[in-house]
Structures are given as structure tokens and as C-alpha cells.
């Protein structure tokens, strides 16, 4: 089953720190959003394997925008 990890804060994508196929644990950082000149960590809210990365550096995010698809 697919599960989307979503942005928790508006801002720009600083980087994605996982690769397709990689297994991630619940609470593991998958991406970083830049806002308020601060790096905000976006963490997997469920364990799974990275199926698809939906964003790239400098993409603008709003709260709830999907960033990474996990196979859970």
C-alpha cells in the first residue's frame, strides 16, 4: 500500500535525503524544508520503503503537499 509523506511547513525544498528503494523507519528524516532561514526536518510518519520521490530542490511546498511515496 502506498503512503505519502507530506510537507509539515510551507517553504522551499532544501533536499531529499532518501533514495528510491531505501527502507525508512518511522520518525526517520526523508527531506528538509527551508523556511524562516531554518531547516525543518520532514520525517516519515510510518515505516516503509521509498517508492517515489515527488519533489526536487527549490520546489515550493505548502502544508500537506506530498513529498515522498512510501510502500508500507
Amino acid at each position: 500500500m502506498d503512503h505519502k509523506v507530506t510537507a509539515t511547513m510551507p517553504g522551499l525544498v532544501a533536499r531529499v535525503v532518501v533514495n528510491v528503494g531505501e527502507k525508512v523507519a518511522e520518525g526517520q528524516e526523508v527531506a528538509v524544508i527551508n523556511c524562516m532561514k531554518t531547516e525543518i526536518s520532514v520525517k516519515a510518519d510510518k515505516p516503509g520503503a521509498v517508492k517515489e520521490i515527488l519533489v526536487k530542490e527549490w520546489d515550493e511546498m505548502q502544508v500537506g503537499d506530498p513529498m515522498v511515496v512510501l510502500e508500507i
Binding site: 509539515t8 511547513m9 510551507p10 532561514k37 502544508v63
Partner: protein, 328 residues
């Protein structure tokens, strides 16, 4: 006492009006980004309205009370809960030792929420204020954002706790929250015709301006100005860019300078001087709206205002924070 479990994106101790009187020493005033919400929150729990509370930016905050007290939460709606049960905002709510407060949701309208506790947050005042200056690393709780495990003490409540519960604002008193924030603004000292074209000032006053993601407690940036904005080809002795002037002191909280092509509202922790033109100044009564503007999402509009109107609006706003506006 309150033990921080999750500090969220940025939670700090702030009071109002902050650390006044030190601009000439290069120290900004700091203070709550939304002073209106902080003052209402304090009013509801019987504190002096400028008492220190917690400024929670962006949500995802959780903390455990280590004693019985009364709290109130004002600002953006982060869907606050105690032990998982929703609690009202803009109202004094009793809490017990062991209760867990959660502000778990990013606000749909607005960006910052304020938690006031009966008696206030007991941190040592530094140069007359309990406010945190993040970039100066002074004031507040150890001069920094809160972290998991931090324990905050409370001051002595001004009234018996059982008299506070249920106090709320009268209907129509609560400020309106939005996604586009209308800021009344006086033209600054460096405007048209010497520094900015008439069309340039019209651009500021007649358009919506998206808040940039780089905005924080020091500065709120909006989109770059168009080429026709500047009246000069360069900054003369001030520098090569037409936004440059010889360094001068900036006005306290709310002034907008233009740095290169980017207009920047200098606010709580903003710089006290610099070498850029100052084109307008948001009136004191509207400073709270800047603090509720969400970076990378919300927009500002600017409405022309005179100094006399600004003074009247400030008086009207100050009159809001009284018992006349509280009910049970």
C-alpha cells in the same frame, strides 16, 4: 512548571513591549511578533498584559504541566488539546499536574499561537525584558529556542486560580485572521521623488505581496520590486545600488527597507541600523498581522496611513486589553 516534550518548529519566551531603550547599542526590541494575541492571552489569565508567555510558531508543540494552573491560548488555531481532548482558544482553561498540552496542527489562518500561564513564565529579565532575541542569543530561556526536556517555571498568579477558569473575550473582540493581511503604513523617510518613483510607491500600495520563505523574527521579505521602482541610477556615496544610502538608524519594529531589489519589513529581532532606503513604516496597531503572516504562503497589502491615524489606531488598540472586554 512546564516540561517541554516537543518544542515544535520555533517556540520561545516573549513579552511585550520587549527590550526598549537599547537601539543605540545595536540591540533590537524583540518582543512578541503578535502582541495582540499575547496581550489577550495574559488578560484572560489575570496577568499584566505584557507578561511573558510562549510564542509557538508553526505548531507541533507538546508540553507537560508539573503543577496545577490556568492557561489561555490566543493566536492562530493549532487545534490545542489537553490529554488529547480539544480545549477552547481565547479562554482561560484550568490544567492539572500531569496534563499534556498539544498544539499539533499548522494554523490554517495565521502562524503564531501564544500560551499564557497564570503568573507568567518566570525567566530572569535581561535589560528590562523577558523576551528572547534569537539572533543575539540573549533574553528569554537561556537566550534560545526551547528544546525537549527544558523546564520552565511560572510566576506567582495575580489572582486565585479558581476565579480565572472560563474567562473569555466578549463577542467581536477577537482579531480577524486571514491569508492576505492588510497593513496600514506611513511612507518612510526615503521615498518619492528623491529615492523612489511615484510608480514605485504605487506598486507597493496597490499590489498584493507574497511573503518569502526566508522571513523570520528579524525580517519579513516580500517579492522583489520592479525596475521602475527606483528614482536614482545608483546610491551615490552610499553605494553602487540605488537602494544604498549612507548608513542610518532604522526605526523600531515595522519599518520597511529595500535591500537590493527586495523589500524587507524589519521587525522584532531586526537590525537597528543599515545602509538601505526606508520606504514605509507599518503602524504599531498592525504589527501583530506581520507576526501572523505565514512565510511562503500568505500575502501582505499596504494601505496608506497618516501619522495622526496611526496614533489614533494605537490608542484604540491599547484600549482593547481591559477587563471591559472579558466575560465568563
Amino acid at each position: 512548571m512546564l516540561k517541554i516534550i516537543k518544542p515544535g518548529i520555533e517556540t520561545i519566551v516573549e513579552d511585550w513591549p520587549g527590550r526598549l531603550g537599547y537601539l543605540s547599542k545595536g540591540m533590537s526590541a524583540s518582543g512578541a511578533m503578535d502582541n495582540v494575541s499575547l496581550q489577550f492571552a495574559n488578560l484572560l489569565v489575570g496577568n499584566p498584559t505584557g507578561e511573558a508567555g510562549l510564542e509557538v510558531a508553526g505548531g507541533y508543540f507538546e508540553a507537560e504541566f508539573m503543577e496545577n494552573t490556568v492557561i489561555s491560548i490566543c493566536g492562530t488555531d493549532m487545534k490545542p488539546t489537553i490529554n488529547g481532548n480539544p480545549i477552547p482558544m481565547w479562554e482561560a482553561v484550568p490544567v492539572k499536574k500531569g496534563d499534556v498540552l498539544n498544539l499539533g496542527v499548522f494554523g490554517e489562518f495565521g502562524f503564531r499561537s501564544y500560551v499564557a500561564v497564570a503568573g507568567g513564565i518566570d525567566v530572569p529579565p535581561y535589560l528590562g525584558s523577558k523576551s528572547t532575541c534569537i539572533f543575539g542569543s540573549y533574553g528569554g530561556f537561556e537566550g534560545r529556542k526551547l528544546a525537549p526536556g527544558d523546564v520552565l517555571k511560572f510566576g506567582k498568579p495575580a489572582r486565585a486560580l479558581d476565579t480565572l477558569a472560563g474567562r473569555k473575550l466578549k463577542k467581536g473582540v477577537k482579531p480577524e485572521f486571514a491569508r492576505t493581511w492588510e497593513l496600514r503604513a506611513i511612507p518612510g523617510p526615503n521615498t518619492c521623488p528623491d529615492y523612489v518613483t511615484k510608480e514605485g510607491m504605487d506598486y507597493l500600495y496597490e499590489n498584493e505581496h507574497k511573503i518569502q520563505h526566508t522571513s523570520n523574527r528579524s525580517a519579513y521579505r516580500i517579492e522583489p520590486v520592479p525596475e521602475y521602482f527606483f528614482a536614482r541610477a545608483d546610491g551615490g556615496v552610499g553605494g553602487s545600488h540605488p537602494s544604498n544610502i549612507v548608513d542610518h538608524g532604522y526605526a523600531i519594529r515595522g519599518t520597511m527597507n529595500v535591500c537590493g531589489n527586495t523589500p524587507i519589513l524589519l521587525i522584532a529581532d531586526g537590525p537597528t541600523l543599515g545602509g538601505y532606503i526606508n520606504v514605509l513604516h507599518v503602524i504599531n496597531a498592525d504589527l501583530w498581522k506581520i507576526g501572523q503572516g505565514t512565510p511562503a504562503r500568505d500575502k501582505f497589502t499596504f494601505v496608506y496611513c497618516t501619522r495622526e491615524q496611526a496614533i489614533e489606531e494605537r490608542k484604540k488598540q491599547r484600549a482593547l486589553f481591559t477587563e471591559d472586554n472579558v466575560t465568563k
